[in-house]
């Protein structure tokens, strides 16, 4: 009898545990308010809390989530979105067109909103009927749908948002598959299954506990010891070790972001004081001294795809007229001789992470063969942002987490007034093409514009793009239903522990 009771208890304990999904995050998320949120890791938590109007699939195609369909007007200055019916927020409030209007206006008007830039072209929202909204734009804006697959498309409960004001992020109320339970800063974020979720058949866990552990080795040790079921962003060097363990699986997908070296070509006077910023031939020589494939092999254990543009070569908007140049040290030396600088020296500002250090050292060694003297300046992130903003750098190694639409990887960095245009790059023809690429809804025309931009940017080299990392996830082999989407989010719909 006692034995039977013990078995029953054991079964009960293990079934309760199986209903909780434990995810190890690489950082502690910031504010859990879609309007104010700023971090990549925060979006991973949002994926279980807040549904969006649209979502992305594995091929980066835009698919409806809280929307059921959309239609652009003939002049492409308004977008009509049909909404899903029968959806409620976690507080029981109804999701409808009025809620969408509230949310989009909140994104635009809330003080400190990070969404204002993305929705700048949206001049107003009309409620057509309970399940239909119309977004009016001041100009056609092709990236709009992609923007609505991210935080701008997340819908929060208007009632809860109005009541909590700017404190909403402390206990967010959305309409996603899980509702917020508690957050202990730097320790855990707990969410539990929302019983009235519109797609509840796809949800197989009762709870999710997100735990931030910054160190990749410790995160992995937690997975191996059974504390976690899933970890995001494992270190590339840990992949071979885990492959031999049948209890775990590794999943990967090439990111939508990039890793590159931004060069100060016009941000400040410093650009003209350095041969790299001053002379395009020196920049070309620097690029030709680099072997991207070797960088990826040595510094990333092969867990990245080489690239030379803001999108990966597999992306439909990759400019084919500007292919990845092969390493050519002889030509690099010739270019330096033509430029009249035999031994150019510059400082490469890098983040303090060990990955970044490794890459910088490989770059330094490669460039040296062509005659470059690269000085590595490892700089704490906040300080480096400040220096970049003031133009007090020669070259800056910077990663961008990426946006679904190529415009999100291009406009803010290379448009003349882009807020993260640290290179200080401004060319009227490129500016015109960027505007064309974002105002045209025709994919073929956009691809053409991007091709021409790529041709020009690859000559000017305000950024030398190096590669696109793999998002590396490791999980319990019993966990099935994982969808690898290039935006790096962990979608909980369909996840199941067998």
């Amino acid at each position: 009898m006692k034995l039977r009771l013990a078995f029953c208890l054991l079964f009960l304990v293990s079934s309760v545990q199986a209903q909780t999904l434990r995810i190890g995050l690489a950082e502690d998320p910031d504010i859990l308010d879609p309007s104010l949120a700023r971090t990549f890791v925060g979006r991973i938590v949002f994926a279980s809390l807040c549904d969006k109007l649209f979502d992305l699939d594995e091929k980066l195609a835009i698919v409806p989530q809280l929307a059921t369909g959309y239609e652009w007007s003939a002049d492409q200055k308004s977008l009509v979105i049909k909404l899903r019916s029968g959806v409620t927020f976690h507080d029981g409030e109804k999701f409808d067109a009025a809620a969408v209007k509230f949310n989009l206006e909140r994104h635009k008007s809330m003080p400190g909103s990070n969404r204002r830039g993305e929705l700048a072209v949206m001049s107003g929202v009309d409620v057509v009927d309970a399940q239909t909204v119309r977004l009016n734009l001041s100009a056609p804006f092709a990236p709009l749908l992609a923007v609505l697959t991210d935080r701008s498309g997340m819908m929060v409960s208007p009632k809860a948002a109005a009541a909590a004001g700017e404190k909403f992020g402390a206990a967010p109320v959305c309409s996603g598959p899980f509702r917020f339970v508690e957050r202990v800063a730097q320790d855990r974020i707990v969410v539990e299954r929302f019983a009235n979720y519109w797609n509840k058949g796809a949800i197989n866990f009762e709870r999710i506990v997100y735990t931030p552990i910054v160190d990749a080795t410790v995160r992995l040790a937690n997975l191996r010891s059974g504390q976690f079921d899933f970890i995001e962003r494992m270190a590339p060097s840990d992949v071979p070790g885990l492959k031999s363990d049948s209890r775990f699986k590794v999943a990967r997908i090439v990111e939508i972001g990039y890793q590159g070296i931004t060069i100060n070509v016009g941000k400040s006077d410093q650009a003209q004081k350095n041969p790299l910023g001053k002379d395009p031939r020196v920049r070309e020589a620097f690029e030709l001294s680099l072997d991207r494939g070797a960088i990826v092999q040595v510094a990333m254990d092969g867990e990245a795809e080489v690239g030379n543009q803001w999108v990966a070569p597999t992306n439909r908007y990759y400019g084919k007229s500007a292919p990845i140049p092969k390493r050519d040290v002889a030509r690099a030396k010739k270019l330096l001789a033509e430029a009249g600088v035999s031994n150019p020296s510059f400082t490469l500002m890098t983040p303090t992470t060990s990955d970044a250090q490794r890459i910088a050292q490989v770059v330094q060694a490669m460039a040296k063969e062509a005659g470059f003297d690269v000085k590595i300046q490892s700089t704490e992130f906040a300080t480096s942002l400040n220096l970049a903003d003031k133009g007090q750098f020669d070259a800056y190694m910077l990663a961008w987490s990426g946006r679904a639409d190529p415009d999100g990887n291009l406009h803010t960095m290379l448009a003349c007034k882009g807020p993260t245009n640290y290179a200080g790059y401004c060319k009227q023809d490129v500016e015109a093409l960027i505007t064309e690429s974002r105002t045209s809804l025709d994919p073929a025309k956009r691809a053409q514009a991007y091709d021409r931009i790529a041709a020009q940017v690859s000559k000017d080299r305000p950024v030398i793009y190096l590669y696109h990392r793999n998002w590396l996830w490791a999980h319990n082999a019993k966990l099935t239903g994982l969808r690898t989407v290039p935006d790096g989010m962990v979608r909980v719909q369909g996840l199941k522990m067998n």
Binding site: I31, R38, T39, G117, A170, A185, T217, A221, S225, N386
Partner: protein
């Protein structure tokens, strides 16, 4: 003693005031603009301007200091801009974790350190003495970060006895709490035990050679009474000072150990806050730990009176 206590208490307020100026002033020297860092990847100029206004970064230094001090005096340490939580709430949340870790680490350090120190002094020149010295050298030279990861690999990954990291409240599940805290407490305690052992040993050696110990022995007292009651009690004075200082350091958070074991204490809180330029959190936590440190030193001074009769006069 009353006069002494009053004098010490009176010195606390100006010290604290000086600490506030120092904390606030030093933070201004941190390179990087808080608004730029907090604005995240997008660097929206509107967001940066909003944050600058909210943090009063557009005001001169004395005005910002006055804003902060005004809040502090009223018990308001401000709010974390990164996660939208009042700093006092964060301190209340982290304090029990940090205290528990500090107390456990200190207990481990005291038990190991003092025992090894006494044994090593009493049995000077024997194998026990050498063993204790080797232990101290090991404790002093082993980086916490490395030892932590090694313990995780052994006890969590290989043997599966203890959780690799994480924290459970003792009120929720005491056993799980102790299982989660024992490894980080040992890592921290191990390093302090080594320091304590060295100090205990030298203090004991000095005391054991003194006249009054010889007298005690001459009286025919048992050796353990001589060592534990007469010698150790006197040798404890420098050890208490050291212990209080180490305990104060533990209370300000053990950054690396907390990071490795994912213990949500002060160390993690403050490091994240510094990197994210979350000024209110940095200032609030540093002020709190400075106050705790000053208080602990005062308590240590008072403890001298209890262990050393000569100081009571």
């Amino acid at each position: 003693m009353g006069k002494y206590l009053a004098r010490r208490l009176a010195s606390i307020l100006p010290t604290l005031f000086f600490v506030t100026v120092l904390i606030f002033g030093l933070q201004q020297l941190l390179p990087g603009d808080a608004a730029v860092v907090l604005a995240g990847e997008d660097q929206d100029p509107g967001v940066i301007a909003h944050l600058r206004e909210k943090l009063h970064l557009d005001k001169p230094f004395p005005v910002r200091y006055a804003y902060w001090l005004g809040g502090v005096v009223q018990g308001d340490l401000g709010e974390s801009l990164r996660i939208q939580k009042p700093v006092t709430e964060l301190i209340v949340e982290k304090l029990p974790v940090t205290i528990q870790l500090a107390v456990m680490a200190m207990l481990i350090a005291l038990v190991i350190g003092i025992t090894a120190g006494v044994v090593s002094a009493v049995l000077k020149g024997t194998a026990w003495d050498y063993a204790a010295n080797i232990f101290a050298l090991w404790g002093l030279s082993t980086p916490n970060f490395w030892l932590g990861i090694m313990l995780i690999l052994l006890f969590s990954v290989q043997l599966g006895w203890l959780p690799a990291s994480g924290y459970v409240s003792p009120f929720e599940d005491l056993k799980a709490n102790l299982a989660a805290m024992i490894m980080p407490a040992f890592v921290l305690g191990n390093a302090i035990a080594a320091v304590l052992m060295r100090h205990t040993r030298s203090a004991m050696l000095q005391v054991l050679n003194s006249d009054y110990v010889r007298t005690a022995r001459a009286k025919g007292l048992h050796e353990h009474v001589v060592v534990l009651k007469h010698a150790l009690r006197n040798a404890l004075v420098p050890i208490i000072t050291l212990g209080a200082l180490e305990f104060g350091t533990l209370l300000s958070g053990a950054v690396l150990t907390e990071q490795v074991f994912s213990i949500p204490g002060f160390g993690k809180l403050i490091v994240d806050a510094v990197f994210n330029r979350d000024y209110a959190v940095v200032q609030g936590v540093v002020l709190f730990t400075a106050t705790a440190y000053i208080t602990l030193n005062l308590l240590a001074d008072l403890a001298y009176f209890l262990v050393n009769p000569r100081m009571r006069g």
